[in-house]
Amino acid sequence: MRIITTRRISQTFFFLLFLWFCAVSTLGEQVWQLRGWPVGWLLELDPLVGLGTLLATGTLYAGLLWGLLTVVLTIFLGRVFCGWICPFGALHQAVGWLAGRKRSAAVQIAANRYRPAQRIKYVILIFLLSGAAGDFLAWLLDLSVESSIAVAGIAAASLACGIAAVRVRKAFWRRWTTVLVLLIIGWVGLGFLTDGSRLLAASLQTGLLDPLPLFYRSVNLTLLPLLDGRMAAFSSPGRLYPGSVAIGLLFWTVVLLNLVIPRFYCRFICPLGALLEILGRNALYRMGQKPDGCTACGACDRHCEGACDPSTTLRSAECVLCMNCLDRCPHDVMGYGLHPSAAGEMAGPDLSKREFTAALVSGVAAVPLLRLSGGVDANWNPAVIRPPGALDEANFLRRCIKCGQCMRVCPTNVIHPAGLQAGIEGIWTPVLNFRVGTSGCQRGCIACGQLCPTAAIRPIPLDERLGRGEFADRGPIRIGTAFVDRGRCLPWAMDRPCIVCQENCPVSPKAIFTREEFRPVRLSGDLRLREMVEDRLLFDGPALPAERFATGDYFVTLEESPDIAPVRIKDIGSGGISLAENPFVETASPGARITVRVKLQLPFVDPSACIGCGICEHECPVKGRRAIRVSAENASRDRQHRLLL
């Protein structure tokens, strides 16, 4: 069997596996549902996810150890992940092949030549990783200031270096000793400079461009919702994801760029590709020319997926192991083995010190700059409601890779990709929007945390979610608190009876309770008592439509009988107002002013009972901007949000 046939089978296998994982990410026990499928496995194989979270948090979430397998494979075999496993790469390769298959050989060769702009992906990688490494750097610098052992070590090392610099005669050693001294001074100086400051902070943004989160996000939030229907229901039909247009635009842009240059994304943008290039630049096995025999026919260049110039000085780091050169070479010159290419190799990455430093510094500097908005501190946005089990905002942003798994699996479609409400670093992270979906956040559901590949949303047990068993003393997890907008609430603002929110509140005892109040109804004129016949009040004044006032919510009082409680209107007809009972017989007289009052049950929220599930907001009949809305106040995940004193 030809090796490229095997590679195509492998790519197809992983591509279909990826699609399967996306399709089955819906709650249920059927084979085509979540069941026990390891739907996040391909994300866990992605070493950039593991490295990013490791740098940002200092910990590695268990599943991400799979990334080590990819690292080991890359060190030994080269970029086998890019050429054989990555489903996004397979898509680019397929589109690029479709676009270029009828082009002339010269055009294909031109499209596949190496371009200096391929360095951009290293810049992106360094920028993203340095943005994630802020806290790690802060920890390193703190050592020089706060650790007595480190301070003693620094002092000893400085003394030793100083002595060595004086005594050593050789220029080489003197130079390096001086460099070491400067490094130590810089380390201590920066330690003092950054100590207690906000100059360093970490935020994981690799997910924006990391191919696997990007592909998961795009399929989960833009493709599957479009395909959902009654004939092929990947989830309950009608799922919406506000803001998904930007996700779709990015996805289709990078896919369609393959029409211009094959594997455009892999060559120019992909930060994972850049990481694997660095890891595999000196891979044990590599592609290369055998000595003698190359006629410079260009067959290898014509079909090269990595734009790594196999016919000349091979850029080994760019090689994605597509094996096309090996298969297409008519003279059997190309091979895959332990020996370097006979025509020469260039390991790469060919990034200048200036470019490297610029990417590194801007990445480290960007996050503290973003944090000046206070979005994770005092200026947190109450509209940013995170799923149950989400970490506090700062830690959440250190872990979330924006893969959209939580949004996909949410059974009620209330988890959505954030726009700018969580700041630039929070773009496409999960936030809850209770206006959309089939209900609020279900009390008995823990799906989002179970699917989160990085534990940005912790995998909480159901007992913790519900606050029972060993978690009974803590109470249920709160994701926010509902607030009644009295300017929009029908009973509060418009004297219209409504208790939908109270009825739908799912917690027991209910977090929404009501207080009764009778309010006079605004009529077009005064009602005056003309006559009283048993329990009927005949009156002069504007007509009262029975369909409105005989619903049981309307009552009357008489001006002359202030001590008598409002009496329910039973019916209204040509004969006047029929009352459920008539306590006015003794006190009322003709001409007395009749006041029609509406009985309102005004909703209030008990913040100690509200879990912020948003069902009240979802069901509120004020459909535009809801009259009861959940905000992140009192959310369990962050002490800053505490509401109750």
């Binding site: 069997m1 030809r2 090796i3 095997t6 089978i9 492998s10 296998f13 819906t26 709650l27 249920g28 026990e29 059927q30 549902q33 979540l34 069941r35 026990g36 499928w37 390891p38 496995w41 009654r230 229901a233 989830s235 309950s236 039909p237 025999g293 006629t295 298969d327 008519p330 003279h331 010159v333 699996v409 009620t412 089939t438 008995g444 559901c445 823990i446 799906a447 179970q450 995998p459 159901l462 979610r465 029972r468 068993g469 409504c498 208790i499 009825e503 027991s508 209910k510 009501t514 016949v533 009927r536 029975a546 049981g552 039973k570 019916d571 007809g573 040509s574 004969g575 006047g576 029929s578």
Partner: protein
């Protein structure tokens, strides 16, 4: 320079390919095996996970029979009494309480292995078949369409409503997808079969109205305060279409003929007291009173034990035709060959309960 060589895979290439394919097969098998370890996210939705620890096994038992229905409990059962009904349906509680509400049991059920959709079942025990039919008929949704497989039931886009014996049931689905709605139908039919079957689905007072012109599914039972008149209780109404005019007929069975006649007269007097004008009585209906209330006509009469009439008719000719048919029909019920009255006692018993 090497000559061009025919491209034929070598042994190493083939073996490597086989090794890679073997790895792919192993991965596939591993992934397939992994799906047998059910995710905690899915386990959390199982009924045993959702059940509260408190409560006896009887309290935790599903409120309806789920055998072979393909549905599983999706929430623990909840039960409400007249004192606690407001906790579940505060806004509509009065309607049920006024109609003789005894208890409510509710629970959510989801299709087996598919917990992104469910049905919430409300089983109202209304004490009597009359009360159950009353709340069923009084709340009929505008978008209602008759369920062909279930008598005395109707559907809306995502729900099914039915009355069976003393029970009034609502089956509210999360959506109107056919699989879910089909499963709702299965559950509803099973409930019907195990709760009296066809006998329990009989519309109370079904024999009271003539068939000619009767609109399907227009029957209602107003247990109290019908047409805003407190003495009118247990009033059966039905819609008719006569000469293109929509009309409402009403009938109420009373203790005896004199009670029926007295109530008819009392209602007539009340309407006049409210400002209605007496119109020329329809000659075709002996003893009937015709009254003009604003721009509508009200016909009231009694036949034997029955109070009857036509309510808020917009066309006096059509109203007279309907009144005549109704009178003749009721005469047939009260004649020598009349079927035994089955609902007299029920109606009175019902009144006493309220």
């Amino acid at each position: 320079m090497k000559p061009a060589v025919p491209k034929k895979p070598g042994k190493i290439e083939t073996r490597l390919s086989m090794a890679v394919l073997a790895v792919l097969v192993a991965i596939g098998v591993g992934v397939a095996l992994r799906q047998f370890r059910i995710s905690p996210a899915v386990l959390a939705l199982r009924p045993e996970s959702l059940h509260e620890e408190a409560g006896s096994p009887a309290d935790r038992a599903p409120i309806i029979d789920l055998k072979e229905s393909g549905m599983v409990p999706f929430s623990p059962p909840e039960r409400f009494t007249p004192d606690t009904l407001y906790e579940k349906i505060d806004g509509r509680a009065d309607l049920y309480l006024a109609a003789g509400f005894v208890s409510l049991a509710t629970q959510r059920f989801a299709p087996d292995h598919a917990h992104d959709r469910w049905v919430e079942v409300f089983v109202y025990d209304m004490g009597t078949q009359q009360n159950a039919f009353s709340v069923f008929s009084m709340q009929r949704r505008e978008t209602a369409r008759t369920d062909r497989q279930l008598p005395n039931a109707y559907r809306t886009e995502n729900a099914l409503f039915m009355a069976r014996g003393q029970y009034y049931l609502e089956w509210i689905g999360t959506d109107g997808t056919p699989p879910l709605q089909e499963q709702i139908g299965i559950l509803a039919r099973r409930f019907s079969d195990t709760h009296g079957g066809a006998d329990a689905a009989v519309v109370p007072g079904g024999r009271l109205f003539p068939e000619a012109g009767l609109s399907a599914d227009s029957r209602q039972l107003i247990t109290a305060n019908a047409f805003g008149y407190e003495q009118l209780d247990n009033i059966h109404t039905a819609g008719y279409l006569i000469h293109g005019v929509r009309l409402t007929a009403f009938v109420s069975e009373r203790k005896n003929a004199s009670a029926a006649a007295a109530l008819a007269d009392s209602y007539r007097q009340t309407l006049i007291a409210y400002g209605a004008d007496a119109a020329a009585a329809p000659p075709a209906v002996d003893g009937a009173a015709m009254l003009q209330v604003f721009d509508t006509m009200e016909i009231v009469f009694s036949r034997g034990n029955y109070l009857a009439g036509v309510h808020e008719a917009t066309d006096p000719t059509a109203a007279t035709i309907l009144a005549q048919r109704l009178a003749e029909h009721l005469e047939g019920l009260t004649g020598p060959h009349a079927p035994p009255p089955q609902e007299i006692g029920e109606a009175e018993e019902n009144k006493e309960q309220q």
